[in-house]
């Protein structure tokens, strides 16, 4: 009779108490179910005993705060009776001053709402555009009207054209400069040879040390020009904006013009008049020069002027005059001043002579050091570009032309596309009014930050 598998036979094979016995799989499961959570708890207890709270950090601190990575309490101040130990403005202000933005602002965000830490080694100052848009998307001020556009959400979203490019704005400078002429080919250089001028021959970033090709010969080898105009017209210091080679120095005669535009006043002298002096000083300079000259050239006191021919074409007798030294100096000075006021100075400056005034008035150059006073800009960061990519200097013929690029040119690179350059507000604007910055009196000692032992009494 062959082997059979009836239900009865199969049932007889089963031990009815099988489920009471432990199986390896069940044993493993029990051990792991107890062991792994217990291991997790032991881990946390171990960290708590070692007073290591860093495990609860929601992410690495910014580079500036990295030194506080192990000292959560530096920012997360625990107060008796309070559950929350969130980082408050008070904790930030213990180390930093954060001056207010504007007196008229309706809303002041908390420090942490713009400067979000625990996001790894990011720049905390690189705040999001949305932080600014909290107010500027629908800008309201405490009193009066807002002086700026009131619906700005970002550089690409409703940001108005730069103020200096609006129709009513012209270059306030009074120097008559034709950029197009200066950028022509084959201009005659200082030594008479043709030259092709470049923007950098006259415009330099601060701190750039390089010979000026068209400077006064005494300055030509190398010069550093430093502007002191580091504040915006409304008095707000622009922290960081003017440090290093970021903005262009205003062009000066001595570094950019002197080699070609020699201020010659008389054919007897090769040197020109000094630039940048008051006209009274120039007058005295001329008197002195001519007095010195006539003292060494008394023969010139006799002036022989070639006469005109008669109506018949026959030459007349030359007219000779004998002058005193004082007369000679006065005549030569008057001639030189006539040349200067009418031609040499006037080529670049605006002169106006008031009734009865001995000398004309030269209008102040009024060269703007900062065209966008509420923004910061770094030429150094853009030096891979040609100047004319942004500034239409080659076609500008009027000194009043504003050669600032339009916002569209900036936006061609600074946009939110995948390959766009940084376009958040902080790149150009500063929230805090650093002119109001107050000094901070530090409260930490070194061992608080380094986690070392506090100094013993008597030690520093």
């Amino acid at each position: 009779m062959p082997r059979t598998r009836t239900t009865k036979k199969l049932a007889q094979r089963i031990d009815l108490n099988y489920f009471k016995r432990s199986s390896p799989l069940r044993r493993w499961r029990t051990w792991l179910v107890v062991g792994i959570p217990a291991l997790a708890v032991v881990w946390l207890v171990w960290l708590a005993v070692g007073r290591d709270d860093t495990v609860y950090s929601s992410g690495g601190l910014s580079a500036a705060h990295a030194v506080l990575n192990t000292d959560c309490a530096a920012c997360h101040v625990r107060e008796a009776g309070r559950f929350s130990a969130a980082a408050t403005d008070m904790a930030c202000l213990a180390c930093h001053d954060g001056p207010i933005h504007k007196e008229k602002q309706m809303f002041t965000p908390t420090c942490a709402s713009c400067h979000v830490d625990h996001r790894g080694p990011v720049r905390l100052a690189a705040t999001s555009a949305a932080s600014c848009a909290q107010c500027h998307a629908k800008l309201r001020v405490k009193s009066g009207a807002s002086l700026i556009a009131n619906q700005i959400e970002g550089f690409g979203e409703h940001h108005p054209e730069f103020t200096v490019l609006l129709a009513r704005h012209t270059d306030p400078g009074t120097i008559k400069l034709n950029h197009a002429v200066h950028m022509k080919k084959d201009l005659r250089g200082p030594d008479g040879k043709p030259v092709q001028m470049a923007c950098q021959d006259c415009h330099r970033m601060r701190g750039v040390i390089e010979p000026w090709p068209y400077a006064d010969p005494q300055l030509r080898p190398a010069s550093v020009f430093a502007s002191t105009d580091t504040a915006s017209p409304d008095g707000r210091a622009l922290r960081g904006a003017l440090q290093g080679p970021s903005i262009m120095s205003p062009v000066t005669y001595s570094t950019a013009c002197a080699a070609c535009h020699v201020l010659q006043f008389d054919k007897r002298f090769t040197e020109g008049i000094p630039h940048g002096k008051k006209l009274q000083e120039l007058h005295e300079f001329l008197l002195k020069k001519f007095q010195e000259y006539i003292a060494t050239h008394p023969a010139e006191l006799r002036i022989v002027r070639e006469p005109d021919r008669s109506l018949t074409g026959m030459p007349l007798q030359p007219i000779a005059r004998m002058l005193t030294p004082w007369q000679w100096v006065a005549e030569r000075t008057a001639e030189a001043e006539e040349l200067l006021w009418r031609k040499t100075c006037k080529q670049c400056h605006s002169l106006a002579k008031a009734q009865g005034a001995p000398f004309p008035e030269i209008a102040k150059p009024s060269l703007l050091a900062r065209w966008m006073p509420r923004a910061k800009f770094s030429h150094a960061a853009h030096q891979m570009l040609t100047c004319t990519s942004c500034h239409a200097a080659a076609t500008s013929t009027e000194a009043s032309d504003v050669l600032m690029p339009s916002i569209a040119i900036c936006q061609s690179c600074h946009n939110q596309s995948a390959n766009g350059a940084e376009s958040r507000c902080f790149l150009c604007h500063t929230y805090h009014d650093w002119s109001r910055e107050k000094p901070v009196r530090g409260k930490f000692r070194l061992h608080h930050i380094t986690g070392g032992q506090p100094p013993q009494p008597g030690e520093q």
């Binding site: 199969l10 094979r13 291991l39 959560c72």
Partner: protein
């Protein structure tokens, strides 16, 4: 549990919740000042709902411990466990803004990923393997009784061979087989003389008994059905016709042993993932509670 048409409602609801959450997340990411943050109102909502789903999924184990409680149908609990547990991953990712954050949150995120991944693997295995088990292992028995059944198979085989070849000597006594409580004497057994029974005795002691005694040895010839069939066919040619029915029984015992091996393998596939899934789930819930407490504080 099979993923069949009865899951359709859960699938739709889960897709709806996931889509709504994704929409809210994307809109929030586009509009908020600093992108998605776990501490924002929406981020906290994602965290609370995701944690609630995880907790519900974890309660399945508690519910299974007290099956007599009237706490809903086991199938409903299982479906909720599957779908809400799966939903917890995207919700927690939305909560974290797809950032792993610090040490504890990184550990939590990896635990969640491992738990969900092991759950998906387990669900797939439990969907496909039971039907395969039914087809491949018709002689399936209770898994915990396999060792006992194996001992009985050994004993049965010993008795069959002894009935034909005479008592197996003490040296050849099967150490893995406890003393039989009742002996099975085949009715049609014919005692062969020593020479006639030698092929069977030799085959049994050298091939079949080691195969039955060492279930973890995979290289045995009898572990392969074709090689086993060939071996038994050859054995039959060496034995008189009168004992072929005994040989058939022995072949059947080998087949049952092969099926038990297959059942063990499939059982491990069906259940071993739980060794990862359950302990890590509990660790996740414990650490998640600590994370919630500390995050609300800081």
């Amino acid at each position: 549990m099979r993923i069949d048409a009865t899951h359709r409602k859960w699938l739709r609801a889960s897709l709806g919740i996931a889509a709504a959450a994704a929409t809210a997340y994307i809109l929030n990411a586009l509009m908020s000042a600093h992108g998605p943050r776990g501490g924002s109102a929406l981020g906290l909502t994602f965290g609370i709902v995701g944690s609630a789903f995880m907790l519900f999924a974890g309660l399945l184990g508690a519910r299974n411990r007290v099956p007599v409680w009237r706490l809903g149908r086991a199938q409903t609990w299982m479906r909720g466990h599957l779908w809400l547990g799966l939903l917890s991953l995207p919700l927690i990712l939305f909560h974290s803004g797809f950032q792993f954050g610090g040490t504890l949150t990184t550990v939590l995120m990896w635990l969640l990923i491992l738990v969900v991944a092991s759950g998906i693997l387990g669900t797939a295995l439990q969907h496909y393997l039971p039907s395969r088990m039914t087809g491949d292992v018709p002689m399936e028995t209770i898994f915990d009784e396999i060792a006992s059944v194996r001992a009985q198979l050994n004993r049965e085989a010993d008795q069959l061979v002894a009935a034909v070849c005479g008592a197996l000597d003490a040296a050849a006594a099967n150490p893995a087989v406890p003393a039989p409580s009742e002996s099975r004497e085949p009715a049609d057994a014919v005692l062969l003389d020593a020479e006639e029974g030698l092929p069977l005795r030799r085959f049994y002691l050298s091939e079949m008994r080691p195969f039955l005694n060492r279930p973890h040895e995979k290289q045995a010839a009898l572990a392969d059905p074709q090689r086993a069939a060939a071996a038994f066919e050859q054995l039959r040619t060496l034995l008189p016709l009168s004992v072929h029915s005994i040989v058939k029984d022995l072949e059947n015992i080998c087949e049952e042993e092969r099926q038990l091996r297959r059942q063990v393998r499939l059982h491990h596939l069906l259940h071993d993932w739980l060794l990862v899934h359950i302990p890590l789930s509990l660790a996740l819930l414990v650490l998640g509670a600590v994370h919630a407490w500390m995050a609300l504080r800081y």
